[in-house]
Amino acid sequence: MIAEFSKPDDASFEYWKQQIACGNEQAFRSLFNAYAPRLTAFAFSITRNREASIDVVDEVFVKIWRRRDRIQQIENITTYLYTATKNTALNLLSRKAREVTVDSFDFIDVALRDDYAPDQQLITAEILSRIKKAVDALPPKCKLVFKLVREDGLKYKEVAEILEISEKTVDAQLVIAVKRIGDAVGKYFDYFPARFQKK
């Protein structure tokens, strides 16, 4: 039962919530350890500043603990944490702006993780650099959707809730991203058609 307690899986969420609500610091620590890396990366993608992204995540967790008596009301802890991180990070970027809307992401270009070349012959360094270029050139909102789905493994429904857009929009944005990457690689095929002839 001890192992169950510290393992960050879906089954623990309800237990964590209950435990945090009654002041269990260890459960709070488990929640923090499970989410802090992903949320810090998410905050970094918005703030593009290491210290700031750590501050943002700290602030989110300080708030959780301070309002732990209300934690049971949170239905989906993942979307809650991402949304809080997003809002806190955007607030940090524009302290003056009291209202935070998702329109911000039409202007804020998020940072993505640095991809390494997978240890496969399938993707050469040259192809990877083309893919990266294509991803980097994606429109801001599209890039953010791409990041949350691919890097953080979130469902359409969760991304939609975090960014306050419809699931349809999430779907459409991801199709755009995949198509642009496909096009970039496809062009490369055209340049070197013989190399990729398959029987």
């Binding site: 039962m1 001890i2 307690f5 209950q18 435990q19 009654c22 002041g23 269990n24 610091e25 260890q26 459960a27 709070f28 923090f32 350890n33 802090a36 890396p37 992903r38 810090t40 990366a41 970094f44 290491r50 750590i54 700290d58 967790f61 300080v62 708030k63 603990w65 301070r66 940072a111 993780r113 640095d114 991809d115 390494y116 997978p118 496969q120 399938l122 993707i123 192809i127 893919i131 789905v149 691919r150 890097e151 469902k155 359409y156 779907d171 991801l174 199709v175 755009i176 991203a177 995949v178 198509k179 990457i181 496909g182 690689v185 496809g186 062009k187 095929f189 055209d190 990729f196 398959k198």
Partner: protein, 362 residues
Amino acid sequence: MTKRMQEQLAILLSRQLSGEATPEELQELEAWIRNHPQDHYLIEMLQTYWSGQAAGEVEAVTDNAHFDRILNKAKSADATVSGTLSNSKAGIRRRLLWWAAAAVFFAILLTAILFEERITGKSPRDHQVATVGGMRSHVILPDGTAVWLNARSSLHYDKSFNKQLREVYLEGEAFFEVKKDQKRPFIVHTSDIDIRVLGTAFNVKSYGEEDKIEATLVHGSIQVTAPSGDDIGTVQLRPNEKLVFKKQTKKAAFSTAKSGVKPPVYRIEPVLLKAADSSFIETSWIHNKLLFDGDSFAELAVKMERWFDVKITFTDTAVANYRLRGVFEDESVTDALQALQQIAQFNYTINDRSITISKKNR
């Protein structure tokens, strides 16, 4: 080779990559690959790219010191809030906590007077964890032992902890998952008995207001000794056994000493497993369940007082003697009382945090 990726393929592929594709869409994608072999390589490449990714550029700070800073920040924010709203619940809780701490201190003072020789030369307690009514807590001790603390309980240990011995003092109820360390025995001191272990999991219940102390063993083995003269010697417990120690009032202890007759002060009982999930009733509280099995209503009321942080009084002894069994999980105290009314006949009134239970009027 088409120069541009076709829209339909982009739709199917993006849904497959994100894990949002329906079974039909997955079939469609397979059909696409069969019908467009020239796209096969591109699709595979995108799938490989999607699943291969580097670790995050930013490493989160998840070390303990950093986490403690977050906690402290949250707590100092707590203090500010209750400072401005002195009558708030938080303020009341803080004052209760202070009283609990004061009570524990007083209890320790008493213990110190009673067992002076045992504590001579020891520094005053350094570390303490305490819970108030309606609250449970979980702590990890410096040696790695995990402790769950039930409501209205306190645990303390001093500087010498983890040097030669691992000694803790318990008032109330706690569950221990003791880190194995053959060289340093772990000892739980209660008001009347000591429990000595090397590495094991067990539950100790020793509330001041109850006339007995219970030690329940989940696995491993424990030794129970009574140092205060009620010579039970050393009792070794096996897994799934529970020792119930009958506390003696000082007066009773003296009179038995004079007459030379010693009534049995403890008994060993088997622990009953709940068939459904083979969990112990004794340790169900650490999973946030208040389980009662054949308790009298009066006994259950004592548990409920701690669990819900309320005060319960009976105006009728027949009602207080009802035998009840059941489990509370997330219920509020009102929900719990209403649930009990389904199985027993009684009335109740709630006035702030005090509850009066009376006979049902006909």
